[in-house]
């Protein structure tokens, strides 16, 4: 299959082997323009390896990979100008000021060869977009963890990328910073002209941010779909429990709401202690990853 106009990420049969150890066993997935795709999986599943291959930072062992129609192993500088990578900052550029740093990174895109149709972000607009306006003149080292993370996102965005990579974006965040970060990603995604691939081991995060979730476990893709699809497809039926005349009943059904309505129509007020339960995505995920680990 070849990538159409709309396919931004096309990964087919991707394999990665370190020495004699296989890390990825034939991973296949796609992402379309404007989509937010979460690569979800436990630690050690191969998420970071996958994203680093897509970023062009790591050579794959086998398989076909196209990012914006180009093999990242041969990615040129004009290609690099079309993707944004959000790194986890540590201590880099500690002495730079926020605005100065963003203007500097933007200048690489302004000078980039290949006649890009979109100029880099204006630093002040970008700073406002990530909510750092009041910190624009501060040095990077004086920012809090959450503020630094927003600066990391701003650096990833400064060239107005068509595709943005976020590797474990909220690792080590407190709940407040996590929530602010999620709001930022959702605002970005609402624009619909950017494709986002994020990796996470946090299912709630994937569910909240992603249009589609690809679950990676032990180097294999074990599920691919929207959160609702995954729940329906894998978790199977819901369960309805009730009591009538002092006796407990339980019934599994694919349509628990309709089933409960039927119960009331038939027995009316005799039904008591009604409980309708759908498997949560979390249970789905844990059971999937558990099955895979048990293989």
């Amino acid at each position: 299959m070849t990538a159409g106009q709309d396919v931004v990420l096309d990964v087919d049969g991707l394999r990665m082997r370190y020495g004699t150890h296989d890390v990825l066993h034939g991973v296949t997935f796609q992402a379309r323009r404007g989509e937010v795709l979460a690569l979800l999986g436990p630690n050690g599943a191969g998420k970071t390896t996958t994203i680093e291959i897509l970023e062009g930072f790591r050579m794959r062992s086998a398989g076909r990979v196209e990012v914006l129609g180009i093999d990242p192993a041969h990615g040129t500088e004009p290609w690099r100008a079309r993707i944004g990578i959000v790194l986890q900052s540590w201590r880099d550029h500690a002495r730079w000021r926020v605005r100065e740093l963003l203007a500097h990174f933007g200048s690489y895109y302004a000078c980039s060869p290949g006649g890009r149709d979109r100029p880099p972000w204006d630093p002040d607009e970008l700073i406002a977009a990530v909510g750092l306006t009041e910190h624009a003149g501060r040095t990077v080292r004086t920012l809090s963890g959450g503020q630094r993370r927003r600066l990391d996102v701003a650096i990833g965005l400064v060239g107005r990328p068509e595709l943005l990579f976020l590797d474990e974006p909220t690792a080590g965040f407190d709940p407040q910073a996590r929530r602010e970060f999620h709001d930022l990603v959702l605002r970005l995604a609402a624009g619909n002209d950017i494709t986002i691939l994020l990796t996470t081991h946090d299912l709630a995060e994937a569910e909240k941010l992603a249009d589609r979730i690809v679950i990676l476990s032990a180097g294999r893709i074990i599920a691919d779909g929207t959160a609702a699809e995954l729940t329906r497809r894998i978790a199977g039926p819901g369960q309805v429990r009730w009591t009538r005349n002092g006796r407990s009943y339980a019934q599994s059904t694919a349509e628990p709401t309709r089933f409960a309505f039927g119960l009331f129509r038939r027995y009316g007020e005799a039904i008591d202690d009604l409980e309708v339960r759908r498997c949560s995505l979390e249970e789905t995920y844990l059971s999937l990853v558990g099955q895979e680990a048990a293989r």
Partner: protein
């Protein structure tokens, strides 16, 4: 626009911004320490006559010291590369188009600018302390005009190559120690001709000695060559050795730099970060 040209403006801007950061505000105090200590040494040597000559030791030492500070570009380069590989600066540069080129160009600007600042800090007060230097001759400036740039290129390209190969800031510390040893035997603070022959031979392999000699040949009167090896400034040999180091560095540096940059990734950075955190505990 070629790729080199695309990185030119951001690289120059980057170098100047980091140069300002290195010398602005409280950072300046730290930058003044070594030049001040060096000037203090020259102050005490200023009237100490070198046996058998009519020269003060201070007069002989100041030009050599200028050469030595030029050679320190190598150490600065190694320190920057190892530290910034570890703190993620280099990986960040890799994520933007032509970022690695811009990064290295910026480093050349920052390090060369820093050395220029050190040379000014040393020369201006130094000239008030010691006499007998020839600044009025055209030959002086002509010599400086090739010795200093050649020295900057040679030592920084070697520094970039070494800095890409060695493992981290700790190894960079050992290299700095090694360079200190080279300075001690390089005839900067005392004529090399008074050292044992095997040390003279060792010193002459490395650029520190030749940079010191080159700057002495520019600033000192011709008669001062009497304390040098062969009673000569050996400018042709200076050009040859510095040129050879520069050529070797310019060939090797892009190769090893590219290899190092290719290996940088988020996970390699994370591994080093974990190691550093573990060591700090």
């Amino acid at each position: 626009m070629s790729r080199a040209a695309a990185a030119l403006r951001p690289g120059l801007a980057r170098g100047l911004i980091e140069l300002r950061q290195a010398f602005a505000g409280p950072a300046l105090i730290g930058q003044l320490f070594w030049p001040a200590a060096t000037l203090a040494a020259i102050f005490f040597l200023r009237h100490k006559a070198l046996g058998g000559t009519r020269f003060d030791l201070g007069t002989l030492v100041l030009p050599g010291v200028l050469g030595m500070y030029t050679a320190l570009g190598m150490v600065l380069m190694i320190q920057y590369l190892t530290a910034e590989r570890e703190d993620g600066t280099l990986l960040r540069a890799k994520t933007v188009p032509n970022g690695i080129r811009g990064y290295f160009l910026g480093k050349l600007v920052t390090v060369s600018g820093s050395i220029g600042a050190y040379l000014a800090m040393l020369t201006i007060p130094g000239l008030l302390l010691v006499g007998g230097l020839d600044l009025g001759r055209a030959r002086t400036w002509l010599t400086l005009a090739w010795v200093l740039p050649l020295g900057l290129v040679a030592t920084q390209s070697i520094g970039a190559a070494v800095g890409s190969v060695i493992s981290g800031p700790r190894a960079a510390g050992y290299i700095a120690l090694l360079v200190t040893g080279l300075i001690a035997i390089s005839g900067i603070f005392y004529p090399i001709t008074s050292m044992p022959r095997w040390l003279q031979g060792t010193a002459q392999v490395f650029p520190v000695y030749w940079l010191g000699l080159g700057v002495r040949s520019a600033l000192l009167p011709a008669s001062a060559a009497s304390v040098e090896i062969g009673h000569s400034w050996r400018q042709l040999a200076t050009l040859g050795v510095l040129g050879a180091w520069g050529a070797a560095g310019l060939v090797a540096a892009p190769l090893v730099l590219r290899r190092m940059a290719r290996r940088e990734s988020g996970s390699s950075l994370a591994r080093r970060r974990e190691k550093a955190v573990a060591q700090a505990r």
